[in-house]
Structures are given as structure tokens and as C-alpha cells.
């Protein structure tokens, strides 16, 4: 039995992917203003495959990338969470917010919750994020979390990204607390 939990924060719900999410993510993956730092365009089939893959990751590793929605309305605002697909150097804390929902602190809110889960429930002792060097918004989020740039231009499967190292558990909890 595999259970994909729901992570709740003040304004957000992080959850497993549903068939109903497919249309909106397919539409957004066509947008250069959203897809440019997450590997570029993906077609309808590839998006569906990614949704399945993210859910399946929970069976394989006990964590996976999640769809993220507003608690109040259920409206999807992006994706985020913990992932380690084949070829990743180590487990990652990742996120991407649809353009119209950026600038409201959602990325910081969801990544803090996901990192708390990794440190308190999953036994992670460290975590990193792979960030495109041109992605100023995500670098801002990483800095807010307390992360620091560890390595430039690391090749990962078919792309290149910088590795940002997050604070270890004790320091992270001291700065951001243990509860969402």
C-alpha cells in the first residue's frame, strides 16, 4: 500500500497528482514564461507521464514531486516538493509556481513545508536544490530558506544547473521553526 500524503500550509495544499490536473499543466507547459527554467516545452503525453512518474516515486522512494493548490479554492498554483528521478545526483527540494501566482510567497511557504517533512519524517540530513543560474526568483527563494550556492553548472541528465545547499536540520529549524 502506498500513501501519498497531503501537506497543508497556511494557504496551500500539496498533494498527489490527479487526472483533472492534466489540462492546466499541459497548457502551462506550453508557456515559455513558465517552462524556461524547468526543462522547456513538454507535450501533452509527456506531462501526463510526468504526473504518473511523480506519483509513482512515492512507491519507489517514499517521497515525490506534488501538485500544489490553494487551500481555499483548490486552484492549482504550481508544483513542488521532494524528488529524485533517475540520474539525479541526490534528492532534491524543487518547486515551480505558475507566473500569475508568483511574488506572493507561495514558493517559500511550500518549500519550507516540504523540507520540514524531509527532515522530520523522512530522515534526510541534508538537501539541495537544482536551480538555473538565470532564475532569479528561485534563487531568491533558496536564499530566504537559508541555502547557499555550492556548485556552478552541474550536468544533470539533459540539463545544467547550479546546486544550492540547504541548511542542515538543526539550523533550519532554529531559523524557520519545526511546524508549518
Amino acid at each position: 500500500m502506498t500513501t501519498i500524503p497531503v501537506i497543508e500550509t497556511e494557504r496551500l495544499l500539496m498533494r498527489g497528482w490527479h487526472t483533472e490536473d492534466h489540462e492546466l499543466f499541459t497548457a502551462n507547459w506550453k508557456r515559455p514564461d513558465w517552462n524556461e527554467y524547468i526543462g522547456g516545452f513538454r507535450n501533452r503525453d509527456e506531462v501526463w507521464n510526468l504526473m504518473c512518474e511523480a506519483n509513482g516515486s512515492w512507491s519507489l522512494q517514499g517521497f515525490g514531486f506534488m501538485a500544489v493548490a490553494l487551500r481555499e479554492t483548490g486552484e492549482l498554483i504550481g508544483m513542488g516538493g521532494l524528488l529524485r528521478p533517475g540520474g539525479w545526483p541526490e534528492p532534491e527540494l524543487g518547486w515551480s509556481i505558475f507566473p500569475e501566482h508568483q511574488g506572493k510567497g507561495y514558493a517559500t511557504e511550500m518549500t519550507m513545508a516540504a523540507l520540514r517533512l524531509a527532515y522530520t519524517e523522512l530522515g534526510w540530513t541534508t538537501a539541495m536544490s537544482l536551480i538555473d543560474a538565470r532564475n532569479g526568483a528561485s534563487i531568491g527563494v533558496a536564499k530566504k530558506l537559508g541555502a547557499s550556492l555550492e556548485r556552478h553548472s552541474v550536468p544533470v541528465t539533459h540539463f545544467v544547473a547550479d546546486i544550492w545547499r540547504h541548511l542542515p536540520p538543526e539550523q533550519f529549524f532554529k531559523l524557520h521553526g519545526k511546524t508549518n
Binding site: T3, D45, M51, C52, L60, G86
Partner: protein, 185 residues
Amino acid sequence: MKVEFEIPTLETQRLRLRGLAETDLDGFASIYSDAENARFIGGVVSRHECWRKIALMIGHWHIRGWGIFALESKANGQFIGYCGPWRPDSWQHDEIAYSLVPGQSGKGLAAEAARRAIRFAYESCGWAGAVSYVDAGNEASRRVAQKNGARRDGSATILDDETVEVWRYPSPRQFSALFPSWGSA
């Protein structure tokens, strides 16, 4: 709102059908690293991509409620391939998919597994019909479908531009008449 899903374990005379696991990666990758084998299932893919395919196949269970099983030899526990009900987004039919590790073909194992998967789809997933997609030129796969009573039913286009033969299995009622034991043991 949390999501739970469970992949059942089924049996045939020689095989156990169970959920895929990370430990299947070596065997699974051998299916996709063999050029001769892989040319009918989308071409050679890397080990990394195979990990992602396994995750995708497991996640399909969550999205659809059914999906691909790992095939394991009951005699020695070896991973010998995969098989199961399958419907990625661009598929036009509910399909029974199957593929074996190189060296495992020619023993009737794919047909044995597919027969069990068809039964599962008809009895447990509410399917009224089932097909297998066969790449033109994949004689071995066509024979597997024919062994389970499939007849050619035109073609389908999947993944935007790929044309495959559609082989349709007998309806649930016909199938149970054709295979009274359903190949379950």
C-alpha cells in the same frame, strides 16, 4: 484527500504478477538496452529513463486504478518482464501491454501473463473490451496476441505520429468461453 493505492499480486502457472520495484531496474533496463528488442517499444533508452518509466508505470496505478505488473518467475524469483492493463493519455483504447527481458521469449510466458492481465482487466477493472498495440513488423508480439484470440482491428495513432496495429481480444464472455481456466493456474 490523501491518496492510497495498492497493487495486487496475481499468479499464473509459471509467473507471479506483482507491483514493480526499484530492484527490478536491472532487468527492466535490459529490455530497453537491447536494440533488437527495444525497436518495437520506442527505441533504446538509458538506465535513468528506465527508472522514470518504472515510476511512471507505478504512478499509472494511482491515476487509473490499474496498470502494469512486474513479471516474476515463480520457480526462481527472477524478473522476466512486465505486462498489464495500460492507457497513457494518447492511447485510443484500453490496452494490454507486455514486454519480456531478452532471452525469455519463445516460452509462451508473454501470452500466459497477458491472459492473466486480460482476466484482471475484465473481472476487476470493469473493462468491456481490450486490445494490444503491435508495432508493424513485430511478429513475436503479434503471435502473443493471436494466442489469446486477438484479431486485427485496424490501426491507431499514438504519441502524435506513431502508427500501431490494433489487435482486439474477445469480449469478456467470449474470452471466458475460450479460456475456461483463464490461465490462472
